[in-house]
């Protein structure tokens, strides 16, 4: 709290909000150092977070010119692509960002897996991470329908039919996804609400938990055979 007594506007802010302590806890904390190319593998998680924020920003902007209805969805997306200033670029970012999310989440997961970083005490971080993967796939699936073009329609047709093959509950699941027996207006509003309201709320909560645990436990150090050899000498495992 040394900075809080300097009397200027900065000190005033620190005293009233404690942002300096938040900064110390989140950013000025020490983390184990990884050497060489391995250290770059540790950027995959933050890169995923960055693309997620980008998706949230571009998605919010796209929603300003989009109508989730079979009558207007296609025309409104075409309008974004052709008539709105920067609309083509923003929709492009959102589209490719979706693929980037899947790629980055996948790579981040592979890094964690092969480094054994899911081990004690970080099991919870890993499990939340798996749930985040599921939610990202859910984002992709619900977002794919929204332009209501041929690709969107038929991919969702196949996707909801797959859900319909779930043992026992399949037929009900299919109707729940579609909002009725056939794909149409109710499917779109449903997917849209999931895509822009439900999934963002879930993903927000999961990301908070994930990040909290990352800071709480500290980022895992790169595994070494020497450290493993030390660990093997420990009694009682």
């Amino acid at each position: 709290m040394s900075a809080s007594n300097d009397g200027g506007p900065r000190g005033w802010l620190y005293e009233r909000t404690g942002v300096d302590r938040v900064w110390d806890a989140l950013f000025a904390r020490k983390v184990p150092e990884a050497q060489g190319w391995v250290s770059w593998l540790y950027t995959l998680g933050s890169a995923t977070l960055f693309v997620f924020v980008l998706q949230a920003v571009t998605g919010t902007l796209l929603a300003m010119n989009y109508v989730p209805s079979p009558d207007h969805a296609y025309d409104s997306v075409r309008y974004i692509n052709t008539s709105v200033v920067m609309g083509h670029y923003l929709r492009g970012l959102h589209h490719w960002g979706a693929s980037a999310m899947v790629v980055l989440v996948g790579l981040h997961m592979l890094r964690t897996y092969f480094m054994g970083a899911y081990k004690y005490p970080r099991e919870g971080t890993w499990m939340i991470g798996v749930l985040l993967l599921v939610v990202v796939i859910g984002f992709g699936f619900t977002g794919y329908l929204l332009p209501w073009d041929q690709k969107a329609y038929w991919a969702t047709m196949v996707g909801t039919n797959i859900a319909g093959q779930t043992p026992f509950i399949g037929p009900y699941l299919k109707k729940i996804f579609r909002g009725g027996p056939e794909m149409g207006a109710a499917t779109m509003t449903r997917f849209y609400a999931l895509h822009v309201l439900v999934l963002p709320a879930i993903v927000g909560a999961l990301i908070m938990g994930h990040l909290f645990l990352v800071v709480w436990h500290g980022i895992s150090e790169p595994p070494t055979r020497a450290a493993d050899a030390d660990a093997e000498k420990e009694p009682g495992r």
């Binding site: 025309d75 075409r78 008539s83 200033v85 920067m86 609309g87 923003l90």
Partner: protein
């Protein structure tokens, strides 16, 4: 930091500044793009085609006539058919004036009173004369006008472009 090696402080400051610069650069690009996208309606020019509202001969000299017309126009991604109207006035059959049918006070639909020879607004008692000038009541300015022209005996107006003439 007490444990920092010599030369580390400047390197640390440098990396911090570069990091901040990168974050600011990405933020600036995304922010500017988003702002352009969000604010673009403010700078879009309203292009409006002339709408044919009927034969010029249908307007009686000296008697304001309400003309209804259907305008097919683009509404963002949609194309809509909008029914609207205009009060058309001519004194000689050559020079026409077309008034927006909404009172300039709060947008109520006014009507022509043939006995008083005035436009009367039913909401707050606004009164305009045949030239659209305010005679009485709260309206802040004369009636708004549409661009109007006559081509081959047909009356053409541009309904969204208004000019207030004092």
């Amino acid at each position: 930091m007490a444990q920092d090696r010599p030369g580390e402080v400047s390197r640390k400051t440098f990396l911090g500044i570069v990091t901040g610069g990168i974050v600011a650069a990405i933020g600036a690009v995304v922010g500017a793009t988003g702002l352009a996208y969000f604010a673009s309606p403010a700078f879009k020019s309203e292009s409006e085609d002339w709408v044919d509202i009927g034969p010029a001969s249908a307007i009686k000299h000296g008697v304001p006539t309400k003309v209804d017309f259907t305008q097919r126009r683009r509404d963002a991604w949609d194309v809509i058919e909008q029914r609207s109207s205009a009060w058309v006035v001519t004194s000689n059959g050559a020079d026409f004036t077309a008034f927006d049918p909404r009172c300039t006070h709060l947008g109520c639909p006014y009507r022509w009173d043939a006995d008083k020879k005035e436009f009367l607004c039913p909401c707050h008692g606004g009164v305009f004369n045949e030239q659209g000038q305010v005679v009485a009541g709260p309206p802040p300015r004369p009636l708004d006008r549409y661009f109007v022209k006559v081509e081959k005996g047909r009356l053409l107006i541009r309904p969204l472009v208004k000019r207030a003439i004092a």
